[in-house]
Amino acid sequence: MAVQALDTARLPVDWAKLVQKLALPTALFVVAYGVVPAYASGYLVEAILLPFLALSLAAVGLNLLTGYCGQLSLGSSAFMAVGAFGAYNFNLRVEGLPLAVTMILAGISAAGFGVVFGLPSLRLRGFYLAVSTLAAQFFVQWALTKFGWFSNDNPSGVVSAPHLAVAGLSLDSATGRYLLSVTTVILITVLVSRLVNSATGRNFIAVRDNETAARVIGVPVLKTKLLAFALSSFIIGVAGVLWAFTYLRTVEPAGFNLDRSFQILFIIIIGGLASIRGAFLGAAFIVVFPLFLSRLGAFVFGGLFDSGVLDMSQRIVLGALIIIFLIAEPNGLSALFDRLKRRIGSRSS
């Protein structure tokens, strides 16, 4: 630490800043593309990293809509389903469609769907809007179950994900699916972080913080809200593709139920609203927490701690944590992280 500090001190100011700015992204990049593919076990990738990446991306999408633009949505899982089934059908019905194009088309389907269910936001606010997005949730699950066409008339309604390949290179292995996931997530996250720091992102925040004032100064409120719905649904749709294709390896309506919508909402509440980093911290928490709880329960209570008890205690602890976060740290893990960093910084200097 001390050596590094000295080194940066000797550099000209711009360089020091640049090093500081690039240090974290470079480290993340090395871990994402070097360390993880080389050393991570199959279990770590399959059970932790793949769901983490898909949920993070969905949370980034929902955070754009709810955290930045202030439109509460309980339909995330429906948008994931539209993305997943969209990708499955594009892949099935269009011969030789590249994977990237499939994913983009799936995202666009979800975006179109999101705009339709975002229309009530022009009239409704807060909880009333949340209820109307619930309609999306129930409608999508109903439609996907009712019409066999979506799952290619498969009798069980559960279809396996297609073979994944980019430029002839198979990505069906755990590492391949991980690389697909992590690349998609990084790409979209970079674009989103540019967006939220631009004038468009500030329009989102203006609409969230004071819609009347935003309208009067000339923010196109209707357009801004629908754009937030479209972009958010696009991202959540792509997250749905990752969830179904890389993590579950199956596409089924039951995987995209209301519980999943709530899970994504909890991720951004725990991680921190209007924070991209919060989406990742929250997703990490939500994915790792049940595993941690089951290990802890098995260690303390031994055989008594079966899956039923685990499921129940998980809900109880998670519910309590959400209440604690809402009261004690409304800005979530992201703010907690900042405070920790500041404290360490002030101690070392």
């Binding site: 674009l191 540019r194 967006l195 631009s198 004038a199 468009t200 992102g201 500030r202 329009n203 925040i205 203006a206 969230r208 913080d209 004071n210 009347t212 004032a213 935003a214 309208r215 009067v216 100064i217 000339g218 923010v219 196109p220 409120v221 754009l227 972009l231 209007a274």
Partner: protein, 300 residues
């Protein structure tokens, strides 16, 4: 802390600035000259009436605002002052009457296009964007001049960058004009009340409006802050020639600041004229000042 020290400094400088900005001569003379030269009305209200659930908030109100003047609208609580401003800015729609803004007549002012019509406003209760910095709040006042799409913003294409640079320059000017440099990068929600009011004025001014509607810009301020804000309002008019409609409770401030004053009571206009005329009007004294006749009316 910051608000107090900043405020005191600005208070010292504000009147001086207005004098400098207005040119060499005394402020009074340039003001008169400008008024007589551009006596055309920038805003005309004709027979405005509005009622909410059977309660009449305004009835048959006429108001004419000349280009370049500071026009105050005063009246007791519930007289309909804020309704009037909300009608002019299109947030309420009048039941009767027409509004003519810069020659364009409206039955309903389109609030979405208010900024493009050259009208900006502040709100009685603060209406800032708490999640944005002071600078970003102010910059948002020029959002109506932006044309670049979100794709251009993400990709950082030339048009988006050009707009950003242009708006940043205007924002810097207003930040300097209202002495907000020391707090420009702070989150606006962390500022003291008086400074937040000033940021709201900045957000309205940065749009370079022809007509500025100020809904109780000095409500809840200390005497020092009020005087300072009055200095800024006057300087804004003298510098940009912006026409100002001012709603205010504090009669002392209004009389010293405005060129003409309209008085509302129970939704009707009961007097209209120069501060001196209004002050002497028996109806006004009756309705607004009550038994305070002859006393110092400041601070009501």
């Amino acid at each position: 802390m910051i608000g107090a020290s900043l405020g005191a400094a600005a208070y010292e400088r504000a009147p001086e600035i207005s004098r400098i900005l207005a040119g060499v001569g005394p402020v009074e003379d340039t003001r008169r000259a400008r008024l007589s030269a551009k006596a055309d009305a920038i805003l005309t209200l004709n027979g405005i009436g509005i009622s909410f659930g059977g309660v009449t908030a305004l009835s048959d109100v006429d108001l004419e605002v000349k280009s370049g003047e500071i026009r105050a609208v005063i009246g007791p609580n519930g007289a309909g002052k804020s309704s009037l401003i909300n009608i002019i800015s299109g947030l309420y729609h009048a039941d009767h009457g027409t509004i003519t803004i810069d020659g364009q007549p409206f039955a309903r002012v389109p609030a979405n296009h208010l900024a493009r019509l050259g009208v900006a406003r502040t709100f009685q209760n603060l209406a800032l964007f708490g999640g944005l910095s002071v600078r970003d709040n102010i910059a948002s006042g020029r959002v109506h001049t932006r044309h670049a799409s979100f794709v251009e913003h993400i990709a950082g294409l030339p048009r988006a960058r050009r707009e950003d640079a242009m708006i940043a320059e205007k924002t810097d000017q207003i930040v300097a004009f209202l002495h907000l440099e020391s707090v420009a990068d702070r989150l606006v929600a962390t500022l003291p009340y008086g400074l937040q009011k000033r940021v709201e004025l900045a957000r309205a001014l940065v749009a370079e409006p022809k007509l500025l509607l100020l809904d109780e810009p000095m409500a809840g301020m200390t005497a020092t802050e009020k005087a300072e804000m009055a200095g800024f309002v006057r300087a804004a008019r003298d510098r940009h020639g912006v026409t100002i409609i001012l709603i205010e409770h504090d009669i002392g401030v209004v009389m010293g600041l405005s060129d003409r004053v309209a008085v509302l009571d129970y939704g009707r206009k009961i007097a209209d004229g120069t501060p001196a005329q209004v002050r002497a009007d028996p109806a006004v004294i009756q309705a607004y000042l009550g038994t305070a006749e002859g006393e110092d009316s400041e601070g009501i």
